[in-house]
């Protein structure tokens, strides 16, 4: 599935929730299910500091693709992270580099990406794209070299 298809799938999935409680219960469940990051990567180097909650993100190249694992100390942040990982994990770096994550707004959770929330999520999305850009640049250099 492409990044766009995965986003569409999540939007579909969230359409069945008609009140905030169902929606958040689902996010909390997703947070609980998120496969944990290898504890070796839960360190300062992989920490994305938020004022309210902390996020840890690890990226590893696999061929032309990037694999992401992540964690957070807050369960709602973790649930939202799991959606980000679901969309961008195992995708080509070149695609990650140029993607726009519109699904968060479409499922009515864009408030969590607001800078005032300072939960680490906004920086995480930025960081995932940066990994994509760096990896794509490296692949480009290798192809040309």
């Amino acid at each position: 599935m492409t990044i766009a298809e995965r986003q569409a799938e999540i939007i579909d999935e969230f359409e069945m929730f008609d009140d905030w409680m169902d929606k958040y219960e689902h996010i909390i469940e997703l947070g609980k299910d998120l496969p944990l990051i290898d504890s070796a990567f839960k360190d300062e180097e992989h920490k994305i500091r938020g004022c309210q909650s902390q996020v840890w993100l690890h990226a590893a190249p696999e061929g032309e693709k990037l694999r992401f694992t992540a964690d957070s100390d807050a369960i709602i942040t973790k649930g939202l992270i799991s959606l980000m990982v679901r969309v961008l994990d195992d995708q080509p770096a070149t695609e990650i580099a140029k993607t726009e994550l519109g699904f968060i707004e479409k499922i009515g959770l864009h408030e969590h990406l607001s800078p005032t929330r300072s939960n680490g999520l906004r920086s995480m999305v930025k960081q995932m794209k940066l990994y994509g850009i760096a990896q794509a640049a490296q692949q480009n250099a290798q192809a040309n070299g």
């Binding site: 905030w20 409680m21 958040y24 909390i28 004022c51 309210q52 902390q54 369960i75 709602i76």
Partner: protein, 411 residues
């Protein structure tokens, strides 16, 4: 909640004075429990500010025309009101600052110039970052050393340790009157007396004290007292620094500019008298007049009644919230003002705060600009419900039911 206090306090009339309290958040009637961060404003304050811009606006001081005179009169009358609010003996000791943060920075930057290597400045472990960082910056410049009064497990200051920290090396003590994160009311009279015994001056950060009851700087016996207007129903961007005349006169100016001078020449400039020496540039006139309106509003409600009403409300909130399984109150000092900081089990404050927001309950989560204090308690932060005199037992009930629901969802 004690029926007597609730009955005599005109809560319905008060709530009607605050337009924002009639609004909704996330489709539910707003329960505003974040007044420790910034309070809401009554119509009387909003009207005063509008009235000022519509009828009295002109730059203050030195104007030869009637409008400027009117603005100046209102501005200086506001200073007098604020002096009375904290029982300052002389209104010229009242300096307009942007807020508590600027008040502390002003003292650190000017009074602090006399400190030298090895001098000791004492703050406490429960200080807001704004009463830590300016002193750290001063220590870097002067070689003075920062000492920290520890906090006990119940959120009170360790006064025995404070006594031991005091010595002939102590030149300054800067302590919060009421903790923004825990609600602890500190024994400021004792703190001042003990500091004065070793010849140190004292600043009291009153940001969380002036919104909740009577403050008397003469009874406290401090040398400086500073607070923000926006936490006590006034507009943002306006606060007060009060200091004893002799000390203020001994201090160099803070910012240079217009108003703060006596005579300017390229050979040398002489400075204005207090308070103007510390008020460079065009002041926040609407802010000052608005803040005085807020002080008048609160005084008209009777500050002792406000204090009693809020004490009853906090007691009710503490009792009701404590019924939630796994909930622990952070900060259980014997004397507290209007702050209920809590955690439930190992649930993250961000998660609880988010789910309260969805139910129309506005609380603050996180470290409350008190990272050293959170570290002291070994927690990432707390959920903080803070109360003002416009909150009700119904607000508390909504907090309890919203928290109960959030806890259920997160369990």
């Amino acid at each position: 909640m004690q029926k007597t206090a609730a009955k005599s306090f005109p809560i319905e009339r008060i709530r009607a004075d605050f337009p924002i309290l009639q609004t909704e958040m996330n489709g539910k009637p707003l329960v505003f429990l974040d007044s420790a961060a910034s309070s809401q404003k009554p119509q009387q304050v909003l009207d005063t500010i509008e009235q000022y811009y519509e009828h009295d606006n002109a730059n203050v001081h030195r104007g030869v025309y009637a409008l400027s005179q009117r603005a100046t009169d209102a501005f200086e009358a506001a200073r007098k009101t604020m002096a009375a609010y904290i029982n300052a003996p002389d209104e010229h000791e009242v300096i307009w600052v942007r807020g508590c943060t600027e008040g502390i920075n002003l003292v650190a930057s000017t009074y602090g110039q006399r400190f030298k290597t090895g001098d000791e400045i004492i703050v406490s472990h429960m200080e807001h970052h704004s009463n830590i960082v300016p002193w750290q910056m001063l220590c870097e410049r002067t070689g003075a050393v920062l000492k920290v009064i520890p906090v006990l497990d119940n959120g009170e200051l360790d006064m025995t340790a404070y006594k031991e920290l005091l010595s002939e090396r102590t030149v300054f003590v800067s302590v919060v009157h009421v903790s923004n994160a825990l609600g602890t009311v500190n024994p400021v009279v004792e703190i001042c007396n003990m500091a004065h015994e070793v010849g140190a001056s004292v600043l009291i950060d009153g940001a969380q004290a002036t919104p909740h009851g009577k403050v008397d700087v003469q009874a406290i016996g401090c040398d400086f007292y500073t607070f923000s207007g926006h936490k006590m129903c006034g507009p943002t961007g306006q606060g007060i620094l009060w200091g004893k005349r002799a000390l203020l006169e001994s201090m160099p100016p803070y910012h240079g500019g217009g108003e703060m001078i006596d005579k300017v020449s390229f050979e040398g400039t002489t400075y204005n008298v207090i308070p103007f020496k510390f008020e460079a540039g065009t002041p926040n006139m609407a802010g000052a007049i608005g803040l005085a309106a807020a002080a008048d509003y609160m005084t008209s409600l009777d500050l002792d009644s406000i204090e009693q009403y809020e004490a009853d409300l906090l007691a009710y909130a503490t009792a009701e919230m404590s019924k939630i399984e796994g909930l622990r109150v952070i900060g259980t000092a014997s004397e507290k003002h209007s702050v209920l900081s809590f955690l439930v089990g190992d649930m993250h404050p961000y998660d609880l705060g988010t789910l309260l927001d969805k139910q129309g309950v506005a609380v603050r989560t996180g470290h409350h600009c008190c990272q050293p204090l959170m570290e002291r308690f070994g927690i990432p932060g707390t959920v903080r419900a803070s109360f003002a005199f416009y909150n009700t037992t119904e607000d508390v009930d909504r907090l309890v039911s919203a928290t109960t629901r959030a806890v259920k969802m997160l369990s």
